[in-house]
Symmetry: C2
Subunit: 519 residues, 2 copies
Amino acid sequence: MQGTSFIGFGRGSNTGASSHAVNPATLESLEPAYVSPSNEEVKKAVELASTAFPIYRQLPAATRAQFLRTIATEIEAVADAIAARGVAETGLPEARLRGETGRTVGQLRLFASMLDEGSWVDARIEHAQPERTPIPKVDIRSMLRPLGPVVVFCASNFPLAYSVAGGDTASALAVGCPVIVKAHSSHPGTSEIVAGAVIRAAQQCGMPEGVFSVLYGSGVTVGGELVKHPAIKAVGFTGSHKGGRALMDIAAARSEPIPVYAEMSSINPVVILPGAIAEKASALAEGFYQSLTLGVGQFCTNPGLLLLPKGMETEFIAALQEKIAAAPTGTMLNAGICKAYQEATSACGAQPGVTTIASAQQAATGQATPAVFLCDAETFLTSPALSDEMFGPASLLISGTPEQLLSVAEALEGQLTASVHGTEADFASAGPLLEILERKAGRLIFNGFPTGVEVCHSMVHGGPYPSTSDGRSTSVGTMAAYRFTRPVAWQNTPEALLPDELKESNPLGIPRMVDGKHL
Amino acid sequence: MQGTSFIGFGRGSNTGASSHAVNPATLESLEPAYVSPSNEEVKKAVELASTAFPIYRQLPAATRAQFLRTIATEIEAVADAIAARGVAETGLPEARLRGETGRTVGQLRLFASMLDEGSWVDARIEHAQPERTPIPKVDIRSMLRPLGPVVVFCASNFPLAYSVAGGDTASALAVGCPVIVKAHSSHPGTSEIVAGAVIRAAQQCGMPEGVFSVLYGSGVTVGGELVKHPAIKAVGFTGSHKGGRALMDIAAARSEPIPVYAEMSSINPVVILPGAIAEKASALAEGFYQSLTLGVGQFCTNPGLLLLPKGMETEFIAALQEKIAAAPTGTMLNAGICKAYQEATSACGAQPGVTTIASAQQAATGQATPAVFLCDAETFLTSPALSDEMFGPASLLISGTPEQLLSVAEALEGQLTASVHGTEADFASAGPLLEILERKAGRLIFNGFPTGVEVCHSMVHGGPYPSTSDGRSTSVGTMAAYRFTRPVAWQNTPEALLPDELKESNPLGIPRMVDGKHL
């Protein structure tokens, strides 16, 4: 472990401002110190990425797929080191880190298989019609091509699956974009281990230098400098609303504005309909408790809002209280998150009209217990602060009549998910509710809870602002590839000059739209 | 002709600030006066669109297709009135207005056929695997859904195909978004005729009131107010860089930022390689002249930059000069555009190192002749102002060595198109040039000129900033549908609650991706 940035195939200097990771369970400082790169080093990483782009983007899809698979293999080879350092840096249990490593390599291989299958480029061919009147039709072919160098900000709550070689990196590298990662200060050592694996894979596969770099240092200074650099063409981010919005504003103010894909905050409303709560209040309380406390509540999809039918909430709340009373404390990811959780839950409990069902206990520093609050629909509708995310195992229950709960749903901001529990009879009359929720969320869940995000072709882990910066995209699953691409058309192009994906002979054998038909 | 805004199915008041269209050929003021809507009327149009959205977006695709086809029929029924008023307002010849009317109804019908075919929703189904370990796989299905009410700004240079019922409107209505049009002050009467046709179609098809409104008034005040309104979810614009960037900045500064699809400025470089100019200098000059002067140069794809091999330019330039000397004057769209054209061409000719091949003659007010300038690569590379668009029939020729022309290409900003003329031997060594041009443009054209944009499935009429606000999209062709949509996923959803596009039985019979395979 060197504690220096990865700048192309080299390492940054080890002088300058630095910081240590802290074990959130013990508050011990962990060696080595991680050094912030100089301005020149930041520029050099961007220049290397710029130089790599024209080469990398022209590599055959199969070569990029091989690169992704080699990264996966190299990460698996250091899985023990990742688990050991990851536990120390994040307080997450070893099983979680090993599971997340599995998800990370699975994601890389899923994007590799997407490249092999090939339909993601949306290849379209329309043949010339020279005899058409009044104007002959030209030959036009189009496909998606990469945007350019991408900056990826690591997430604190996914030290692997949304960090150095996580979903943002995998999707950007897959489509042909070099990546510069801004490592998260909470888990720099885990990042160094994974970065080494990616660099080894890049060298083994003969990738151009600059296809991948990892920089330490502050999000505001190093991150801000990266996002401002003219050669950067897109940004991926997972974190707070404040951080995401700051990056959006920087990107929008550039001489050439660029897209920012920021996954920010979501309270993931769960609605329990009367038939469901009458039938299985206790089972619903159990399911809700499990979702609420999974990973100490530190998921983007944590259920922060629960809507209950007025007059039917007693059994559910009693069962939930029983669960929470027996809940173990959990170590949060870092001291800042833990402090913010304590403050947010205290503030919620202090709001007029809010009853505390279970308060976050003052446990040892860095530890948290679940917190649950209750209010009526009118209180929620007149207290905008109650819509704020409380990152951690906290949730606000809202009790209301069916009409009131429709108003609550309509008042919600954009969400990653919305969940509804109901019986067949409930759903028969839930049309207006479902219509509202579909406008508010990226994913609708029936008789389930929002935690657990399948990495697949149809997943949407996105949603209207402010759950993300851009509801037109997903950060999980293969549709994430669309974020870092743009369509390009070729007109009357000689066969030899067309990309393989668009050649008449279809040498890659990929699915294409030809003259309006899917072949 | 009433001269008032269309607010839902009603009309705005006829009091308040107003302006007249002006016949650019005669400078006559045309009746009636067009009245700017009040703030309350603007708000009412947005509120009606908001109310219409939940209804409109849930209509079956076939119903929206029928609406688009009815709009086309209603426009055809008033084609004579459009042609008459259009000629008076724009100075464009009647044949062009009739042709553009044909393109407009063709676009509407193309989007209707896209809805019938159904693959555009990108329906994806992945079935549950309850036995999967360690975690069962849930059933996830996704498709594209509409963003919400869209504001469309009419273009001055396409009074039909990119105005009231043009491509932006057609694509937004197709995917399920209500549209509020901000009419262009250059052709308000043409807009009123077309708006009437759309409203008649909406009423005939039983569409919800508010699915379509057309507002007159200033782009800065009425347009700005629309873009700031929280219920507006996206913006389409075709016009100047200044206007587009102003809308981008307003949209980015909103509490909830929204996407702006602005097609702005492009100089559409054309490169002539040595073999091509040696073989057919005169034919290339003829083709270039035709493209340059089509529609008095008032196309987004006008060839504003031509790169010639140093030492081989004489015959081409002589042939071009001969053409231009015999060129008729043309009426520009309005006095403002004509004045800007005179100023831009004067400024270009006055730049040090720039030779005037043909200057825009001082013709009658509102009229223009072609202007062509020449400089060497070094002059271009050291004079940033030479990259500015001169809207109209003007172009700058750059002569340079192959290496210099590569530097010129690399220095270009984002473009809608890039064209290359070459022989087979030219192309065999043009790899580096083509690589650069592909990074700079949305459409690459071989042995052709950029004017003429086919409306089809594979067209990309977009390109990196500043040619558009967002190179990830196209404003022409069916891929434009993606601009006004976002993906939504349904998890473990009862069959009855799924949209038809995602039902297990595939009642619409559309192409879908099922468990990773295209069916």
